[in-house]
């Protein structure tokens, strides 16, 4: 018995010693690493910058991976390596985990609505020369600081097949009632699915559930303003009005037999193969369409006609995306900034823009996207910038787990606007109280 006790004591001691030596070993190593870095700076050794990004288009990932390698010819001491992800959600999850461990790559790509979350992890870029030429960067400053540079802007469009419109004798709609009318006429004809909705994936309903209340409110600061109200979702609010419009569409049976049963890819394929007549998406859809259909001959677009009557101006939702920032934990701040200056220099940026097939975010550099040029030749809508909610909005919407795209799914499954808004108002009020 005594031996057993003694044995236990010894075991515990060994464990404690092992654990302690493990801990001290870890911290010792990190200080060594820090020492190494300090030395390397002095000796101007070769530096490798890691750049993390996502893109659904493989060709673009290949293009960017090759493009950043060219930087080594400008600055032989710096090598830039791309780490790519296929979807933004996988990417976000990965960088959140790394942010938690303080191990972010040197350069990170971001969406505008992630900037507030990552404000502690990003180095302010106000002193970068290229920032002054960026058209949108200031709009997305967090606490007055520019934390990331938007690389592209693009309009959110409604795509259609002109051949179908011609066959069914339809006019391009410019108001919401006209839009509904067009969809219903396609439905009555029966040959095509009027609207291709990949509702199974939730996100494809964003042109409606995310953008409609925002654009109806006519305030770019709409989302941040929500955080200042106790009940911003009830009757009489832009949210309620917008969601009523959306319900009108979702309940009109114009999205095929089971919009919630098919995903975004399948919905895209339905549209590309001309089984569906209309679908809404950003300009980024055009390269996908072209690669699958082989030609853009039977593709045209119009601004989503959110407005009720022609008396109000027709607005076009503009999105800025593919922001790049420098991680504040990066040990190569200066090298990263120098790379950004090169990356956004007119010659390099022009190639980036052509690779992305999107619209410019910089003065003096125009994009060469023929589809976009045709669109702007036919349509001159007033532009409306999507500005994400501020930190207060993000905090509240996270607290009530607000996902407007999932709400869209619930609406497609039959939930009414009254049920949704009542529930949201109650949760929002409660969350504001607990803040």
């Amino acid at each position: 018995m005594r031996t057993k006790k003694w044995a236990t004591l010894l075991l515990v001691c060994t464990l404690v010693l092992t654990a302690l030596s493990g801990c001290s070993g870890g911290s010792g190593k990190s200080s060594e690493e820090n020492g190494d870095t300090a030395n390397s700076g002095a000796k101007a050794d070769k530096v490798t910058l890691k750049l993390a990004m996502w893109d659904s288009n493989n060709d673009f990932i290949t293009f960017l991976t090759d493009k950043v390698k060219e930087y080594s010819s400008v600055n032989p001491n710096v090598k830039v390596e791309v780490e790519s992800f296929k979807s933004d959600s996988d990417y976000l999850q990965a960088i959140k985990v790394r942010a938690g461990g303080d191990a972010l790559p040197d350069l990170i790509e971001l969406k505008p609505n992630w900037l507030a979350d990552f404000k502690e992890q990003l180095t302010p870029l106000d002193d970068l020369g290229v920032v002054s030429k960026n058209i949108y960067a200031k709009n997305y400053a967090v606490d007055g600081k520019i934390l990331a540079i938007p690389s592209v802007s693009f309009p959110e469009l409604v795509y259609y097949h002109p051949s179908v419109f011609k066959e069914l004798n339809l006019e391009v709609p410019t108001t919401w009632p006209q839009f509904m009318d067009v969809l219903k006429k396609i439905q009555e004809n029966g040959k095509y699915i009027p609207y291709a909705m990949g509702g199974k994936d939730a996100w494809p309903d964003y042109p409606f559930n995310e953008f409609l209340p925002h654009i109806i409110s006519d305030k770019e600061s709409y989302l941040s303003d929500l955080a200042k109200e106790d009940a911003p979702f009830g009757e009489g609010t832009p949210f309620y009005q917008g969601y009523s419009q959306i319900a009108e569409m979702y309940n009109a049976n114009v999205m095929g037999p089971d919009p919630l049963g098919i995903g975004a890819d399948q919905a895209n394929d339905l549209f590309i193969s001309k089984q569906a007549a209309v679908m809404a998406s950003g300009l980024w859809f055009v390269p996908t369409y072209e690669s699958k259909a082989g030609t853009l001959d039977d593709l045209a677009a119009f601004p989503m006609p959110y407005r009720q009557t022609e008396d109000t101006p027709l607005k076009l939702m503009m999105f800025t995306d593919h922001f790049y920032g420098i991680s504040s934990s990066s040990k190569h701040q200066e090298e990263a900034k120098a790379f950004m200056e090169w990356f956004y220099s007119p010659e390099v940026y022009k190639e980036y823009l052509n690779g992305a097939q999107l619209d410019t975010a910089f003065e003096g550099v125009d994009s060469d996207v023929p589809f976009l040029k045709t669109f702007y030749a036919d349509n001159q809508p007033e532009k409306f910038m999507y500005i994400p909610g501020d930190a207060a909005y993000t905090e509240l919407s996270n607290a009530i787990q607000l996902d407007v795209k999932a709400l869209g799914q619930e609406m497609m499954a039959g939930k009414t606007v009254d049920e949704i808004t009542k529930d949201l108002n109650a949760k929002w009020t409660e969350a504001r109280k607990n803040k």
Binding site: A7, L10, L11, T14, L15, T18, A19, G22, L92, Q93, K96, A99, G100, D102, D117, F118, E120, Q121, G199, K200, D201, A202, G256, P257, D258, P259, L260, G261, I262, Q266, L270, T394, N398, A399, Q401, D403, A406, L407, Q409, E410, M412, A413, G414, K415
Partner: protein
Amino acid sequence: MNYNLQKKFVIFGFLAIPVGLLMLFLLYPTVKLFQFSLTDWNGISKTFNYVGFKNYIAAFQTDGVWDALRNNLLYFIMHLVFIPLEISIAVLLNNKIRASRFFRSMVFMPYILNGVAVAYIFSYLYNPINGPFNALLDLIGLEGLIQNWLSDPGVVNYSLVAVSLWRFSGFHVILFLAGLQSVPQDLYEAATIDGAGAFQKFRFITVPGISRVIEIVLFLNVRGALQVFDIPFLMTQGGPGTASTTFTVYTIQSAFKYNNYGLASSLAVILMLMIIVFTQLQGKLFGGKEDN
């Protein structure tokens, strides 16, 4: 150093490594998890505040958590209902039926398949457009039964439970089969001499003989039902809306989608406690039976 001390030193030396690893990878994260569950950490920020048991209270007061648990309950009940059927199949396979070896491996096959592959296969089978399942129903004249398998909030959970049953029942059958093979044949022979029928043999010899295995399967069922994640996450992402969200999906979304690591950690702790409590209860239930 005498021999005894030397011996102990070697033993402790060897033990230190696995126990140390266990502490590092199991105990330390668990302690950390508990620590985070008492904070408002958003998973990204470098700082956090301690908020006491606020997250635990919030977890119990959130409808979404209860809705998710209700979905978990459905997995548990359906798997429970299937246990007698699984035992019956095991009994059948235990008899000398033709090609029983082949059937045994067939039954086990779904369990070996990768969960992600299973989710994708069934997403395809349930597809509303050109989906094989609906096409089959159409072919055999049962088009009236065609449903929006993954998009109707009233149906989606049953569709997902069916996938779970397909995947795990085979494993349970094999466990029962192993249990059955350990029941001595002479008991059956004695029962036959005493004039017992097939059902009586099943009820009084087979079931008590495999009670240990039943207990294991029940434990796996409780644990599996509470932790079910891959099937709903991959097939519906918890949707439409939140209709097929399970407890683990809810936890993951709280952490990664809504940046609420504090709440997610508290949910993970609650999950751990639930599994411990249910397993203990079950152990009591079976332990009590054995005493009788």
